[in-house]
């Protein structure tokens, strides 16, 4: 039985042995992930696409240095993050580290918004284009640190350890940022969900 990892390891070995064309196949399952990682960092579609191409090319050139101790997806994500950070550094002279500490130390209000009337099932909600739009906007407007972790964990569905590894931060920091990101989104989207939720029974059986 071939697991995804062994298939991947096999692919990588063959590419390194000279079957270069197979790199197309290796990268295909991850091209969406690479793009979204970069979009989360550079926040501009055209630049994200350009950076994604660079990251993929870079991963091809450095494939020989990939060690099987990390998952290929995590390794690739790290390359994408580095490409994104490189572009950010170029774009603005302000060091990311100073921003990082500022945001991390902030004592914000990470209390979720209460609601009692949203029982819409996700499948139905997904049909609503404006809800997807609102979610995209809300994610884009998360503070950078929280957005990066959120995208890796909840959009690309890396696990907590992989997210920590790819970002070069500790598991506990990932958990804190993820929690804040999720609560911020919940808070942001609840009023929206409330107003568009189907009417529920009110007094005397009337719709509210």
């Amino acid at each position: 039985m071939e697991t995804k990892a062994t298939t991947e390891a096999g692919l990588i070995a063959r590419i390194l042995a000279g079957e270069k064309e197979l790199f197309h196949e290796l990268i295909r399952p991850y091209e969406r992930m690479v793009y979204l990682t970069l979009l989360a960092i550079v926040k501009n579609e055209a630049e994200a696409e350009d950076a994604a191409q660079e990251a993929v090319i870079s991963s091809y050139r450095h494939l020989g240095s990939f060690r099987g101790d990390a998952k290929f997806s995590t390794w690739l994500t790290t390359i994408a993050i580095n490409e994104g950070r490189k572009r950010l550094r170029k774009a603005k002279a302000s060091a990311e580290d100073s921003i990082e500490e500022e945001v991390e130390g902030q004592e914000g209000d990470y209390t979720p918004a209460p609601l009692t009337d949203w029982r819409e099932v996700p499948l139905e909600a997904l049909e609503r284009k404006e809800l997807r739009e609102a979610l995209r906007t809300a994610v884009a407007e998360l503070p950078d640190l929280y957005r990066h972790v959120f995208i890796l964990r909840d959009l690309e569905e890396l696990n907590i350890e992989e997210t920590a590894q790819a970002m070069g931060i500790s598991v506990s920091v990932v958990k804190v940022r993820l929690h804040r990101a999720r609560i911020m989104l919940q808070k942001r989207l609840v009023p929206y969900l409330k107003t568009t939720a189907p009417a529920r029974r009110g007094f005397f059986g009337r719709a509210l």
Partner: protein, 86 residues
């Protein structure tokens, strides 16, 4: 022991990820059984994550994959030449 709503909110993310310990999980679940507000907060947060992971929420630019593979093909070709001349 009774949990307060605020305490539950502080663990929502970890609860969703299944990383709270068994005892706390049990306490949270007992709380959720009778607390409609916390249940709705949990549901809405979970649903937002489902929406996030759906391919339709975050779409790729049209033609992204084609352009990526075209660029990659060029790279493979040029690296082919490099090794060929060595």
């Amino acid at each position: 022991m009774k949990l307060e709503c605020k305490h539950v909110w502080g663990h929502i993310s970890e609860y969703i990820d299944g990383t709270v310990d068994a005892k706390l999980r049990e306490e949270i679940e007992r709380h959720l059984e009778h607390c409609e507000i916390c249940s709705a907060i949990l549901d809405s947060t979970r649903n937002i994550l489902v929406l996030t992971a759906d391919d339709r929420t975050f779409e790729l630019p049209v033609g992204y994959s084609e352009r990526l593979h075209a660029r990659l093909a060029k790279e493979l070709e040029s690296s082919e030449k490099d090794t060929g001349t060595k």
